[in-house]
């Protein structure tokens, strides 16, 4: 067993801060306590420079640093941050547990081979946790309790073997030994300074002085008795809320908060080995009002940059009706992620990778219904001989294998539905040389036929009688001609069989 402990000594501060860079430069402190006796819990570097310390009364702090901005301590936010960090740590170990209010423990002994050794694993832990913007100290030891205690001493202590562990623990002063305050006070009074002094004492003597619980703590630290830890279990839905101390009115400032939320979501998804297909952003306004923004994707994704890009585009399209006081990201639907299979030797590899991203970007700005593919439909009526189809994010190869519908040429295509079979075969039987008549179709089709204005120069071809649809109430009977206007345009026009409105334009041979 090898345990790593990540302790977040400034969690109270980091959990509240919204990740706005501007915040880092201003003096800022977290306060706690009853209204009459507020005191500083933690202050940032800028505030400490002015002399603001933990434990200082708020009035005194304001006297030292008038521009100090403050926020009340938020234990719920701290718990949430710790839980999301545990979710992140779950990527590195199956054995993660939350220790106390500001630390997480993870058993890394079983993960060493996967991550290329302890040094490499710890480096990666550091690199990733730094990206979240949390201040931390890291320690590794053979027992969880020892790792927890050592992480309070200094950052970067790693003692994988049991031998040197005892001497390293011996140097730990009582104040940070993890014993309860009463025991520490009692031992101090007896003249003990560090753990080495305690380890030297006979067990019976020690048990009498500090009680069995504290003795057990010392035993667990040294690995003399087994440890039991409550194992962290990842959640199966994602919900994070960021609250702002002031109303945000600009999209840009919301972007920072959004980025942080999306990054947490992506981390969560990687740990679950899942993707997200649909998530909701809730902008909380004053007095309980809120704006909901649904973000839907065509295929599950978990790439933080892509998700952020899409969410931001959707967010930018929303007009902020009121200042935003909180931003929540909710993802209930977390389907398993099926990564796109990409051929190693595929020459159009870049294409396959970029296309889904491009679709998502376009959909985010233009709306979900903006992109279509075109399909031919086996129908002789021009307006019904085609349809829009959903855009497919599948790779090209998969698509070309699927049978595609060919245009209705001389009745070569049969309609699948039973009621359509009869007219289709009827047409085929009637007209033998239909293939030649169907040869020429215009490039442009007008969505709705309209009156052809302008003078006609000549008729180039026609008539081609198209008569179909008696079975579905949209019976059409038209004689189509290819005509040329005086301007040289070639038009596909018809004369309605019943009425006398003259040439009706239905397409251009562009």
């Amino acid at each position: 067993m090898l345990w790593a402990c990540l302790r977040f000594p400034r969690l109270a501060l980091d959990a509240i801060r919204i990740g706005e860079p501007a915040d880092r430069e201003k003096p800022f402190a977290v306060i706690d306590g009853p209204a009459q006796r507020r005191h500083i819990v933690l202050a940032n570097a800028e505030a400490r420079r002015s002399g603001v310390r933990a434990g200082l009364a708020l009035t005194a702090a304001h006297a030292l640093c008038p521009e100090l901005s403050i926020a009340s301590r938020d234990p719920a936010a701290e718990r949430q941050s710790l839980a999301s960090l545990a979710a992140w740590a779950y990527r590195f170990s199956a054995d993660v547990s939350i220790a106390g209010v500001d630390a997480i423990l993870l058993e890394v002994g079983a993960s060493l081979t996967l991550f290329g050794g302890l040094a490499s694993l710890l480096r990666r832990l550091r690199y990733e946790v730094a990206a979240f913007g949390f201040d931390y100290s890291l320690a590794a030891a053979a027992t969880a309790t020892a790792a927890h205690v050592l992480s309070a001493q200094a950052d970067g202590i790693a003692i994988p073997h049991a031998g040197p562990l005892a001497s390293a623990l011996g140097a730990v002063p009582l104040a940070t030994s993890g014993l309860d305050a009463e025991a520490i006070a009692a031992l101090r009074g007896m003249g003990f300074r560090n753990l080495r002094d305690l380890f030297r004492l006979p067990r019976a003597e020690l048990a009498r002085r500090i009680g069995p619980d504290a003795l057990d703590h010392l035993d667990r630290m040294r690995g003399l008795v087994a440890e039991t830890l409550k194992r962290y279990r990842p959640a199966d839905r994602f919900e994070r809320k960021l609250e702002f101390s002031f109303g945000i009115e600009s999209q840009g400032a919301l972007g920072f908060a959004l980025q942080r939320l999306v990054r947490e979501l992506a981390t969560f998804l990687v740990a679950r080995d899942g993707g997200v297909q649909r998530f909701t952003l809730v902008l909380g306004h004053e007095r309980g009002a809120s704006t909901r923004i649904d973000v839907g994707l065509l295929a599950p994704q978990r790439d933080a940059i892509a998700l952020f890009d899409l969410a931001r585009t959707r967010l930018e399209r929303v007009e902020l009706v009121a200042p935003v006081h909180a931003l929540t990201l909710v993802a209930n639907d977390l389907p398993p992620l099926c990564p796109l299979h990409v051929d190693l030797f595929d020459t159009s590899r870049r294409e396959a990778l970029d296309w889904p991203a491009l679709i998502e970007r376009l959909r985010a700005r233009l709306g979900d219904e903006a992109l279509h593919e075109l399909r031919c439909v086996a129908d002789h009526r021009p307006s019904r001989a085609w349809r829009f189809a959903e855009v497919d994010v599948e790779s090209n190869r998969a698509k070309t294998q699927s049978p595609s519908v060919v245009p209705a040429k001389a009745g070569t295509q049969r309609l699948a539905s039973d009621n359509a079979k009869a007219p289709d075969s009827r047409l085929r039987g009637n007209d033998g040389n239909m293939a030649s008549a169907f040869r020429k179709r215009p490039f442009w089709l007008l969505p709705k036929p309209c009156v052809l204005r302008g003078e006609l120069a000549k008729i180039l071809a026609g008539p081609e009688r198209i008569e179909s649809g008696w079975w579905d109430e949209h019976d059409k009977r038209r004689d189509y001609y290819i005509v040329e206007t005086r301007l040289g345009q070639r038009a596909w026009a018809f004369v309605p069989a019943e009425s006398d409105t003259g040439w009706t334009l239905h397409g251009w041979f562009a």
Binding site: R365, L371, R397, R441
Partner: protein
């Protein structure tokens, strides 16, 4: 005294001495003034001239342009490189719809889709009629139709061109300006896509950053294509190409 000047003269005249002067050459007996050059000088000179920084007028080959053949031999012969330039914007200027301006592109689009490249229609004025496209040999599985409002047209076309996953992007821009076209041209260069922009004939007077500008008009015998601007050398007898209808 005499030999040394002769050697000096020879060394000045011999370009190879500037490039690679083997020390042994100094010790050879003095040549009888500047008479014959050993063959290696030509090789050395050719080597120098192959340097990409040296440009020689006349004999130099045409700059290589990556193109997609138009499918029309007479037009191919007149376009630099022999087709629609890839990674560039091509402007097609028309007076009216329906004079064969789109059919001009059909063979190239068919070739692209059959090769598995994607063809995107950005906010076309009418419906590109799928039966006609299929008749022209276009694989509809690779055709994407995008609805975009006027304000989003440029953005959409630019995104598609830049992404590098679209073979050709067709857009219709009755109102645009140099700056926006420049963006499209750069996007096409980045994404190595063929950008087609259809504009009204009145825009022919404006300057444009497009690599190729052609005007399509209707003549007695059929559609006529005139190359207004292109990068690279135009084919012989070039400024008016007649198309068979």
């Amino acid at each position: 005294m005499f030999t040394s000047t002769a050697e000096a003269a020879a060394s000045v005249a011999d370009p190879s001495d500037f490039i690679q002067a083997p020390p042994i050459a100094k010790r050879t007996p003095a040549p009888p003034l500047i008479a014959t050059r050993p063959p290696r000088n030509d090789e050395a000179l050719a080597e120098v001239l192959r340097h990409p920084g040296i440009w020689r007028r006349g004999a130099a080959a045409r700059p290589k342009i990556d193109v997609e053949p138009t499918g029309n031999a007479s037009l191919d012969a007149r376009l630099p490189g022999g087709g629609w330039p890839r990674g560039a914007l091509s402007e097609i200027l028309i007076e009216n719809d329906g004079i064969g301006e789109c059919s001009l592109l059909l063979p190239a689009l068919a070739a692209l889709t059959q090769a598995g490249r994607r063809v995107v229609f950005v906010a076309p004025p009418y419906i590109p009629y799928p039966p006609a496209l299929a008749d022209a040999g276009i694989d509809l599985a690779h055709v994407v139709h995008i609805d975009a409002a006027d304000a989003d047209k440029h953005w959409t076309a630019e995104q598609c061109l830049r992404a590098g996953c679209c073979g050709a992007v067709l857009s219709w821009m009755p109102r645009t300006d140099y700056r926006q076209l420049r963006r499209l041209q750069l996007a096409a260069e980045t994404g190595a896509a063929i950008g087609f922009v259809f504009r009204p004939l009145g825009a022919a007077r404006e300057t444009s950053p497009a690599a190729l500008r052609v005007q399509v008009s209707m003549a007695e015998s059929g559609p006529r294509v005139e190359i207004l601007k292109c990068r690279g050398r135009v084919g012989e007898n070039s400024l008016a190409a007649l198309l068979s209808a």
